[in-house]
Subunit: 305 residues, 4 copies
Amino acid sequence: MDIRFTGVIPPVVTPFNHGEIDLDSLGRTVDFLISSGVHGLFVGGSSGEVAYLTDSQRDAVIATVVERAAGRVPVLAGAIDTTAHRVIEQARRAEVLGVDAVVATCPFYAINDAAEIADHFRAIAAALNVPLLAYDVPVRLNGKKLGRDLLVALGKEGVLAGVKDSSGDDVGFRRLVAANAAAGHPLAVLSGHECVVDGTLLLGGDGCVPGYGNVDPGRYVALWEAAQAGNWAVARDLQDQLCAGFEIVYVPRGRSGDATGIGAFKTVMAAQGTIDTNDMAFPVRALDGEARDGVLAIARAQGLI
Amino acid sequence: MDIRFTGVIPPVVTPFNHGEIDLDSLGRTVDFLISSGVHGLFVGGSSGEVAYLTDSQRDAVIATVVERAAGRVPVLAGAIDTTAHRVIEQARRAEVLGVDAVVATCPFYAINDAAEIADHFRAIAAALNVPLLAYDVPVRLNGKKLGRDLLVALGKEGVLAGVKDSSGDDVGFRRLVAANAAAGHPLAVLSGHECVVDGTLLLGGDGCVPGYGNVDPGRYVALWEAAQAGNWAVARDLQDQLCAGFEIVYVPRGRSGDATGIGAFKTVMAAQGTIDTNDMAFPVRALDGEARDGVLAIARAQGLI
Amino acid sequence: MDIRFTGVIPPVVTPFNHGEIDLDSLGRTVDFLISSGVHGLFVGGSSGEVAYLTDSQRDAVIATVVERAAGRVPVLAGAIDTTAHRVIEQARRAEVLGVDAVVATCPFYAINDAAEIADHFRAIAAALNVPLLAYDVPVRLNGKKLGRDLLVALGKEGVLAGVKDSSGDDVGFRRLVAANAAAGHPLAVLSGHECVVDGTLLLGGDGCVPGYGNVDPGRYVALWEAAQAGNWAVARDLQDQLCAGFEIVYVPRGRSGDATGIGAFKTVMAAQGTIDTNDMAFPVRALDGEARDGVLAIARAQGLI
Amino acid sequence: MDIRFTGVIPPVVTPFNHGEIDLDSLGRTVDFLISSGVHGLFVGGSSGEVAYLTDSQRDAVIATVVERAAGRVPVLAGAIDTTAHRVIEQARRAEVLGVDAVVATCPFYAINDAAEIADHFRAIAAALNVPLLAYDVPVRLNGKKLGRDLLVALGKEGVLAGVKDSSGDDVGFRRLVAANAAAGHPLAVLSGHECVVDGTLLLGGDGCVPGYGNVDPGRYVALWEAAQAGNWAVARDLQDQLCAGFEIVYVPRGRSGDATGIGAFKTVMAAQGTIDTNDMAFPVRALDGEARDGVLAIARAQGLI
């Protein structure tokens, strides 16, 4: 396992201002996260609104994060596109921009089986000079879940260096960790869920990629350190505090999934001063009115602002 | 309703040969379809394996089809990408290449609500000089179905000129046709399903976009003409014959959705001589062995080869 | 095929009044349907709120319908329970009460495969002296769809006499009709959908089981007769009229699926005088206020009241 | 919270022998579980194949378990039927037979909203003299998940005494535990998943209802005790051992969900001598051949036989 890809690796949000990417706010976010002690940065993920960014916007975001991180922590970049040849084009540009690893999903829009998905990852890894991690996010990908056997086999082959598991399948996560351990631990197995990091570390997970880590990175770092030290009651308490803050994503009613989750993160970050506005990528509108007030009320009660 | 977008409009397959796009075979396919009497061509759809094509491959395919069609029938091009700004980049290139209309889905990978989806289509239409049609294909898009009220409202606004409905929701299709008629018929409502064209024309649909139309276009044209003449028993018989041939897609066992459906079409087309090989886009492997034999046996029994 | 199970066979609603089954209203419903020309009655289906009825209530409903029908049309009874041995207990009671056929679903709550489901139907059929029909209703049954091959094989074996297809899978319906025809037509294939009866009869379906047939049975009978005569334009117009009335089920907002659909039927039936109240089985509350007004406004506009 | 419903409460399997329930084996299972230290027994759950049992079979099973338990541990009984009035009939019989609590799901086959589901549980609780627990098992119930707010509200009302959560939604579980704690802990919140008990106890869960507890109850009891003592590393190791044994359920290929899971448990239990055969309820066939061998190989490697 490549230890550069363990610990707390937040998926960095992409700040906007009146429809344009706000690179100043992005730079401040990078500084805030690194100074909070995170172990890596994941740029171009779902929380980074990657699906809404054109190729030139993606490049600008990656370049800014790589430059600002300046080697202090590794930078992983999502190369999100429908199939291997398109992913490779995304990934090579990221590689040229200096990222330390690429993260790719299984094909989407396309309808493939396990053998085709394995070849997909093999082709991407073969085209790159940096490590490849798989991104398992069925909620965005027609429910497609990457199988345990597929992932561990690709780990043993040297195709994959890790997995970001955002599947919400806790039994599947534990089975993956166990099979990975039995295979010599080729994969860094990272949880993409904000609210069960204590449990996933207890069972042997290698880290987490929490979107809410943009809001409260220091507490995730403290949770990680408690877990490393075996202080599970402390870890649980920190996780409970994180969960109490994460309730912000359940406040907005009648809005889309992206508006609700990422929108709540940005709303608190703007109030914290990390970013200038809580604007979202078109066509998602920023939270305002009661939704914004409700999010901030929770953030205030949790001492986040 | 723009009558250029009615009748039989097959989604053109993308022929491959050893991993490269075979533009000669593509040109022959265009000629075959037009000489069979089809009323339009849809390039860059799911049957065209659009999700597997890089941007430069997409451009080459569109350019070839536009040039070969040479104005004999209108050419509609899929501009398939995750969100509006990315779709617009795809669509503008297609527009420059001379297509007569653009076809776009709702956002995918992104998680949006109806208001955001409406803005998505509005932004795409505003960026184009050619008409925009919506492509409703929940099976590839996380189950997201475009709502009847949304579609008809966007038709009345002048944002959408039509809909390709591949949702398989027959009740929804009829409700859409009825609401569209009540609104003055702004939309060309096209069925994307191969096997129920007679019924969808009986209830007032404006045409069809059948992937299997690559294999047997003449019979779809005859079905369309029978329906136009009100010869419903004849239409039904032709549809039954088409369904008997369409059974080729159920032959391959244990293969992916794309390998099975598009793969079966290409297998018969290669045997017909329209295209050189039944190769698929990477990482999908062509049908061979028993699957290929089974497909060809049906095609032979139906007089297709 | 047993021709007793073809034509228009409405699933009879179960009238309630202050929490008790209203057998007088039920009797009037039976008379209304038969005098409108329907070809059979299906009691104890989803539209009959069978899932809400205790065994003694089910028996009272079946007894009333059988007695009131008095042999004028065949009576089919749903025997709805989780698995074969429980279904058999339901079915035998119905048989004793004099029904002409039993209708059963695949197992639910249980999680079974195709072989187990086949044995399920075989056991039920073996325990009965009346014919057995299968009820395919995935929307209530965890998405489980009865396969074409399974159904036709059980038809050829003599296990099944027919299928009520409420799956909404139009391609599957056509493939079932074609395979059934090729096998010598052992099954009566009935559509459970209100809005596509013209198309399903055009392609060779044997009848329909429309819940909305409780509201407007005469028009379904006229549609059936037009289809039998090959007057497809007339059939389509009647179907369009039925669909315009069926819009009542889309009026209620923010209510459950059962409240909305069956509730809308009962609301119009009460206004027609067929039943005394639009009460529903506990815990479903009757439509009232704006929802009721909206339903009745459509019914009035369509000349149903 | 009623502490009778905390700790390790296995869902007791229902042994069969040539199609008949084997009450001797059932009695031995009860003794084995109680002597292993479990804190309660759940009879008539999914692992007990409740959906396959007739009412008289259900009664025989409940009577046997109550009598054999003889007050040593509380007995909870599933009252599994489609809607409230039917559930109440099941529950009252169980109550007469002496159970200490009843467990009921939300309605199924019926399609209800949250308000109707709340009334469903209220009616059941009002009809009983023993406590009522909710059983949240979306995989069997059309994906319906009981909401956190609904459950906690019904806890505060005194309608529900607890929840068996078999939803696999780990974030939802944690949010339920937190909201329940904030409300004064009215509910005993039990995990229905075999493989994440350590994590659910760490975050504050009140116990577990593991089907695999029929096979290895002692280790679950040891895990519970380690968690109570705050020995999380020990708890994790025990959980890892339980997970290694639980791999038996993934061995059988090409069989149904019920055949695979419950079938694997029974196969090991028969080899352990707790029950006479690994027979399943009709129409599920017992595991045999390679599947049986594979299950037993794992059980042997884990020291279970």
